[in-house]
Amino acid sequence: MSQPSQLHENKPPVYPAVNYLNADRGVWSWLTTIDHKRIGVMYLISVMIAFLLGGIFAMALRVELLTPGPTIMGANTYNRMFTLHGVVMIFLFMIPAIPGVFGNFCLPLMLGAKDVAFPKLNLLSLYLYWTGATLVLAGMVMGGTDTGWTFYTPYSTTTPTTLFPVLLGIFILGFSSIVTGLNFIVTIHTLRAPGMGWMRMQLFVWAIYATSIIQVLATPVIGLTVLLVGIEKVGGFGLFDATRGGDPVLFEHMFWFYSHPAVYIMVLPAMGVVSEAIAAFSRKNIFGYKMIAYSSLGIAFVGFFAWGHHLFVSGQSPFNDGAFAVISMLVGVFTAIKVFNWVATLYRGAIAVKTPLIYICGFLFFIVFGGMTGIAVATVSLDVHWHDTYFVIAHFHFIMVGAVIMAFLIAVHYWFPKMFGRMYHEGWGMVAASLIVLGFNATFIPQFLLGNAGMPRRYYMYPERFQALNVASTAGASLLAFGFVIILIYLIYALVRGEVAGDNPWDSRGYEWMTTSPPPKHNFDETPIITKDPHSYQEPGEEVEHVVI
């Protein structure tokens, strides 16, 4: 296996002496920076800590479920643990992960800009994230919440556990998300380099654009909703309390109006990452550029009108059920458009089997499998059977872990040399990737079977007949965890001792690779002028390069 860069470069790659990482020194220069790249790096560290925490909670849950009876914790601890897992993974990891880290780091580079539109607001969004995260975790330490991440009323307004700090934390995290989204929309509108029309933007930029629209339009509603639950709990206003005339289903509508589109806040950037990496690792122009770009907007649009499929058993009218079911299935159409285009990009490409490609293959399988089961649970009659069972758990973990975390790992490996100028160890990368793809399947495929057999979610005890599949799932989760630990070790090693990567180790045609790796403080020594379409690997008169594996 040879590095692509070695094929046409004989001199060893150089690490740029002055770059954004060492241009200013000291902790204070990081905490007060308005450089989008440094903010991206700080987001990377923050979300990885959140992911580690959420992962530890997940492992605790899996260990508890090894035996039908109590194993290592009681019912209340279990309830707090799955709430903690959900809240941390969704609000602290998945929503900010790809936009916060790679959106911040790569978006201005891909646009040929010096920074995002509002650099100070960008730093503010990071501080809001830290504040919200601290509040959420403090609330959990102060007594914990046992409502699950969905905070359904009237349970959430009557539970004796500490809820208010968690809700306030989520409210503040929402602000962080809105500020990021608003910043990216304005950046994409105003800071494109000369020559970059809308149809010359990279597909990651399109994906972030669609994501940002959802962040800006949906997040205020969850902000208000969690605030109302908090007020309700403290003040007893009766808004969602049926004993005072209130309507708990209203809460469900308001909650899912955000929380369903929030799935696309997580998935759309993931799809953007795959569009970038799949072109780079098949060394081929992306197939169906426009369709991939438009389908991102399509998902963002349709995603706003699908929330009612969470309420099939909440007493919604049959007409609503049917309408929401059909609209939900439309998401599958747009996703399928993307999948076909990705596969067509791979077809007859000069495929470079590197770590990110393993994750790409995993991603494609998971999004198809998770998507198909999504169509299944969007079917009203089937959902009545599967609602609140492990089938639903397995379905959304296929999308959120299977698709989003695979994409996050693609992004980490693909852009690691861009961010830090060094390479991770390819061999260990392959080992970890194989472990994770296998471990993921072993964790969640048994959960589909458990759910179909009738095991409800959020229970810490279960009948003995479910034990074999639960043990299989926990074994898979251990593989998964082992894979993540390997990644953490070799990435930290690569930061310090990794081989110098050179400016463009993948020989990618993405615009973010036009500058040095790591980039200088102001991104480009001179403003780039864009003269060709993105992801362009073949040009007239230019020989197509094939990487020898």
Partner: protein, 216 residues
């Protein structure tokens, strides 16, 4: 285009923008997006109003008769007037008339304060009567089921709106202090424009709240 005629670098131009026009466009777009998020923030409460008005039509109708129509109407006039004065303040600074702008901003801030005072008096009456939200409700004159929810919605919407009035007022005071220190001129006035836009939103929300809560 007047600012690009000179070759002196504009102190208000951030390093990552090419021209001041582009930067102004960016901040305006950012503000409009932000106003969009504000509309959606209130939308959740308007949804709550709609649902409960549908459920408890009679209680809502009856309870709305017990609001102080005069106070509400006066506040509506006060806010619409303040919207006009903030627009005139923007027009003044655009022509470089700093003093005129400052006077109009002071008038707008006074209107905001008047609104809050009237609203405060209204609130204190409601507190005395016991027309309070949820479990605190003990107002004897409206006993129809759902009346407590009317006052829940009333306090939540007007409370959130009053919070926005306070924020808007703070922004106007900050703008006034910058106007008085001579920060703005006919070539640089975008912050006044954005502050004015925010104030219009505060006004607009009330224009929806007033008929929904007081009139119908």
């Amino acid at each position: 285009m007047s600012s690009s005629d000179t070759h002196v670098p504009n102190p208000h131009l951030a390093h990552h923008y090419e021209t001041i026009e582009k930067q102004d466009y960016a901040v305006r777009l950012g503000m409009w997006l932000f106003l969009g998020t504000e509309v959606l923030l209130f939308a959740g409460l308007f949804l709550g109003y709609t649902v409960y008005r549908h459920f408890y039509h009679e209680a809502f109708h009856e309870a709305s008769r017990h609001l102080d129509l005069w106070a509400g109407a006066t506040n509506t006039v006060v806010l619409i007037t303040s919207s006009l004065s903030v627009a005139l303040a923007y027009d003044a600074i655009k022509r470089g008339k700093t003093k005129r702008c400052a006077a109009l901003l002071i008038f707008t801030i006074a209107c905001a304060l008047a609104f809050l005072v009237i609203k405060g008096i209204e609130y204190s009456h409601k507190f005395q009567e016991g027309a309070l939200p949820g479990k605190w409700y003990h107002y004897a004159e409206v006993t129809a089921p759902g009346a407590n929810l009317y006052y829940t919605v009333y306090f939540l919407t007007t409370g959130l709106h009053a919070f926005h009035v306070i924020v808007g007022m703070s922004i106007l005071i900050w703008l006034l202090s910058r106007v008085l220190r001579g920060h703005f001129s006919e070539s640089y006035y975008v912050p006044v424009e954005l502050g004015g836009l925010y104030w219009h939103l505060v006004d607009l929300v009330w224009i929806f709240l007033f008929p929904l809560l007081y009139l119908i």
